[in-house]
């Protein structure tokens, strides 16, 4: 399972990088979204998959999965939402001001 996840993570990172390198602002934002998904899955996979019960003490299980990556990911999901929202508004505003969402068009003069 982990190996499969590693491949999936690789695909997510590839796609994210490709989108980040494009010139349209919207694509770049989508790229950051994919990047955060990839990072979340990466963190989870590193903790080991399905090695115990969900990290709820009520389960009374002998082993639980590692709760720490989950805590980190939870934080990361929220933060990445904040960042995406900020980016989106930024893109929207800059489009209104400058009239383009193309990266090259936003460059100032030398």
């Amino acid at each position: 399972m982990e190996l499969l996840m590693i491949v999936v993570i690789g695909c997510l990172f590839t796609a994210a990088t490709y989108l980040l390198l494009s010139k349209s602002l919207l694509r770049i934002i989508i790229g950051t979204g994919l990047l955060s998904h990839g990072a979340h899955l990466l963190l989870l996979t590193m903790g080991g998959l399905k090695v115990g019960a969900p990290p709820l003490l009520g389960e009374k299980a002998a082993r639980y999965v590692d709760p720490l990556p989950q805590a980190l990911i939870l934080t990361a999901i929220v933060i990445s939402f904040g960042v995406t929202a900020f980016f989106l508004v930024l893109a929207y505003r800059s489009y209104q001001e400058i009239g383009t969402d193309h990266m090259e068009g936003m460059k100032g003069d030398e």
Partner: protein, 794 residues
């Protein structure tokens, strides 16, 4: 401070005084204050003649940077004394000449003499230093002073061009030479030349690199092929400077260095043949080019290059003395003798010829031989000097040039026995001598014979004032005097210098027998000279007919073109480098970051050989999990290739929901919940903005652009996978989460571990996280507000 050091530093001290003398004493030409110093130094160095004649070297040391073991070691032997005498002797004459050449009131005389004294001191430093680093320092100082003197008439473009060219080429060579010095010092364990001579070095791996690096320095300085191109352009300097630096002294620094280091390097045949061949090529090529020139100074410049080549090749052959002394110990010594002798002779005749050119230029206003002619009757004294100098240069008896030229032939003839191919040596030498004869003849005939053309001259030509004539007359007299009684030099100057070059081959007791004579009987050398005369005259007669050959050489083939072009390339390269690296575009920087990240990470991974791969903990795979994974990959691919925004956004959402499903599968209920909520809001937000944002540009980017991006992104993806695999498979540390498992209930009284970690154990982190969200919210609010404010203004 030892007197030798005082003598060495005296020019620098006087140079400090000159600006004040120039400023406050306007009535007298400042040159008169400078003149006594070289004369005094000349006399001072003459006093060492007696020691040197006895083969006794005088040395003294003054510490400079003791912590780095750098000191001013001064060493006076035959070789350095000869150079010191040349520097101060010719220096005196040049200063005298310059007093008449540069007019008071019109020129910045203060600067001129400061630079000249700077040069004199630096050059003395070069030839007296016995320490490689201080030698290098003085060496570069001569380059700087030469630069300043060439740029003396700085308002002329050609002067600046020539100055920059000479500086870049000689300093580049100098820096390489420094590298060679350091390599040599590492091999030998000392910077002291004298000590290095007593250390066996040939086996050291740095020996050959050091040899070549040092030769770079010597060849650039002594204008050897292919570095000679700076010397003709250096002729923009005032003529006294050309006479002094660019013919008599500075350009011989390279030769000095070769001679000085011969005892260290000559045991290697690489040294011998590199020097000999480079010297011969220079000799031949430059004498060929000299005949084409129409500017008197250019003729002399190329002639200097070719004569320097001659001396260099002789020193190379002379190095063979260290190889074949068992044949007959004097066989190749004649080459060294010829080199030293010719070096001296060249200083005399070329010095006088340069001064003649200065006079002609000064009195007629031009140096172009197409405008000159018929000056013989108008300037009889100048003509006589020019004739003597040229005949000596051409190698005709009874002048000193003949004597050293004969020895040159002898040396080359002897060298031909060393190897079968070496027969070319005397042939090349002979051909070069024919061209030497040719340009010497052209030099005199075009200037002084033929028809006087007053209408193309700027000034009415007349004989120069006597002050200007003294210096060239002295040199011309020397040419004749040495020509007739060469043996005045043999014991006092030549033998000690040869002894110094071939240091270690003789003991002082084995007195060197140096005897120079005009007549050796009907030898091959004599016939070669006669041949030179005959063929030279023939070429001179037919010169207009075969002149066209020179135009066959395209400008684009020349070394000068290469030099100029290299600036264009450098400029272009710097521009494209700048525009590529500093585009100011975030995208480019991202590419740098990604590539360097990938490279560094892969390198670090590859560097570490050992990995404990442990795959025993792999979890099982169910079919629906595979389906889900494929779905994620498919949705991801769709976001990338989607042509419309809506598709992209929706498929991004699909990826998000699939991830949430994975969270469920992997026993992370909190994550799944959060992800579902956030993903829903995100998609909604995207769709909101979607309404306002423009459509995806339908303009297709170039294939190369996309391909480049694809390569980089695949590299990043693969790297991430590899890292993930290694991090998973090679467990280095125990997980630290056991603490939380154990203490969640005891310390925090909670049962959901993830929640407890977030709000209790790492509560502050969560607080900051909320702060970040708040800041983002504020930012969004501010951005929205910003617009409103602006609209109100309108």
């Amino acid at each position: 401070m030892p007197t030798l050091h005082i003598a060495m530093f005296a020019p620098f001290l006087l140079a400090l005084l000159v600006p004040f003398l120039y400023k406050f004493i306007r009535s007298l030409h400042v040159g008169w204050f400078v003149l006594p110093l070289p004369i005094a130094l000349f006399v001072y160095f003459l006093s060492y003649m007696e020691n040197v004649r006895q083969y006794e070297a005088v040395s003294a040391t003054l510490h400079w940077i003791p912590s780095l073991h750098i000191s001013f070691d001064v060493y006076v032997d035959g070789l350095s004394l000869l150079f010191a005498l040349l520097i101060t002797g010719i220096g005196s004459l040049v200063v005298l000449y310059s007093i008449y050449y540069l007019q008071k009131g019109k020129e910045q005389l203060g600067n001129f003499y400061v630079y000249l004294l700077l040069f004199m001191g630096a050059m003395l430093g070069v030839v007296l230093s016995d320490h490689l680093i201080s030698l290098y320092v003085f060496w570069e100082l001569t380059s700087i002073s030469s630069f300043l003197l060439i740029a003396y008439w700085y308002t002329r473009d050609r002067s600046r061009y020539g100055a920059q060219k000479s500086m870049l080429i000689t300093m580049f060579g100098g820096l390489l030479m420094l590298g060679g010095f350091v390599a040599l010092a590492i091999a030998g364990g000392t910077y002291n030349i004298r000590e290095l001579m007593h250390t066996p070095l040939t086996e050291h791996p740095l020996f050959i690199p050091a040899l070549f690096l040092i030769l770079f320095g010597a060849f650039t300085k002594s204008a050897q092929f292919p570095f000679y191109i700076w010397l003709p352009d250096a002729m923009e300097a005032p003529t006294p400077v050309s006479a002094y630096l660019h013919s008599a002294t500075m350009v011989k620094a390279g030769i000095y260095l070769i001679a000085r280091l011969t005892p260290i390097f000559a045991v290697s045949s690489v040294w011998v043949w590199t020097i000999a061949l480079v010297g011969l090529v220079t000799l031949c090529w430059a004498s060929f080019l000299a005949s084409k020139q129409t500017d008197l100074k250019a003729i002399l410049a190329y002639s200097t290059v070719s004569q320097l080549g001659l001396i260099t090749s002789l020193l190379g052959i002379g190095g063979l003395s260290f190889h074949y002394d068992w044949i007959d110990e004097n066989v190749f010594m004649v080459a060294v003798l010829a080199a030293i002798f010719h070096l001296f002779n060249h200083a005399t005749f070329k010095g006088s010829l340069f001064m003649v050119v200065g006079i002609v230029d000064h009195e007629t206003g031009t140096r172009d031989i197409r405008r000159l002619g018929g000056l013989m009757t108008i300037m009889p004294i100048t003509f006589t000097i020019a004739l003597i100098g040229s005949l000596s240069m051409a190698g005709l008896p009874p002048f000193n040039g003949f004597l050293s030229k004969e020895m040159f032939f002898t040396a080359m003839l002897r060298a031909k026995d060393v190897a079968s191919w070496a027969v070319v040596l005397p042939v090349v030498a002979w051909v070069a001598s024919i061209f030497t004869f040719l340009y010497s003849t052209l030099f005199v005939s075009r200037t002084f014979f033929g028809k006087y053309k007053p209408h193309v001259l700027k000034k009415e030509a007349h004989e120069a004032p006597i002050g200007m004539l003294i210096a060239p007359i002295v040199l011309a007299l020397l040419v004749i005097f040495i020509g007739f009684v060469p043996n005045v030099l043999s014991d006092s100057v030549l033998a000690p210098a040869v002894y110094a070059v071939l240091y270690g081959l003789f003991t002082p007791n084995e007195a060197l027998d140096v005897y120079i004579s005009h007549w050796h009987g009907f030898t091959l050398e004599l016939f070669m000279t006669i041949g030179v005369l005959l063929f030279g005259l023939l070429l001179y007669r037919t010169f207009p007919k075969w002149k066209k050959i020179y135009y066959r050489f395209s400008e684009r083939m020349s070394l000068n073109f290469l030099y100029d072009q290299s600036f264009v390339w450098m400029e272009r390269g710097a521009r494209s480098f700048t525009s590529r690296i500093m585009t100011g575009s975030m995208r480019t920087y991202l590419i740098y970051i990604f590539t360097s990240l990938v490279a560094l990470l892969l390198f670090t991974i590859g560097w570490n050989e050992q990995w404990n791969i442990d795959l025993s903990r792999l979890a099982n795979i169910r079919v629906y999990e595979v389906v889900l994974a494929v779905a994620i990959v498919a949705a991801t691919a769709t976001t990338v290739i989607a042509k419309s925004r809506l598709t992209a956004i929706v498929s991004l959402g699909a990826v998000g929901y699939a991830v949430a499903l994975f969270f469920v599968l992997f026993r992370a209920p909190d994550l799944a919940l959060t992800q579902l909520v956030i993903e829903t809001i995100s998609v909604a937000l995207f769709l909101l903005c979607f309404y306002h944002l423009p459509k995806f540009s339908q303009k297709q980017e170039s294939v190369g652009f996309n391909l480049g991006n694809a390569v980089i992104s695949i590299a990043v993806g693969v790297t991430m996978s590899v890292i993930a695999f290694l991090a998973y498979a090679g467990k280095h540390f125990d997980a630290i989460s056991q603490y939380y498992v154990d203490n969640t209930y005891e310390k925090a009284a909670g049962k959901n571990m993830v929640n407890v970690i977030l709000v209790d154990f790492r509560g502050f982190d969560t607080l900051f996280e909320i702060c970040v969200l708040a800041i983002a919210a504020l930012g969004i609010y501010a951005m929205v507000k910003l617009r409103l404010a602006k609209e109100e203004e309108r």
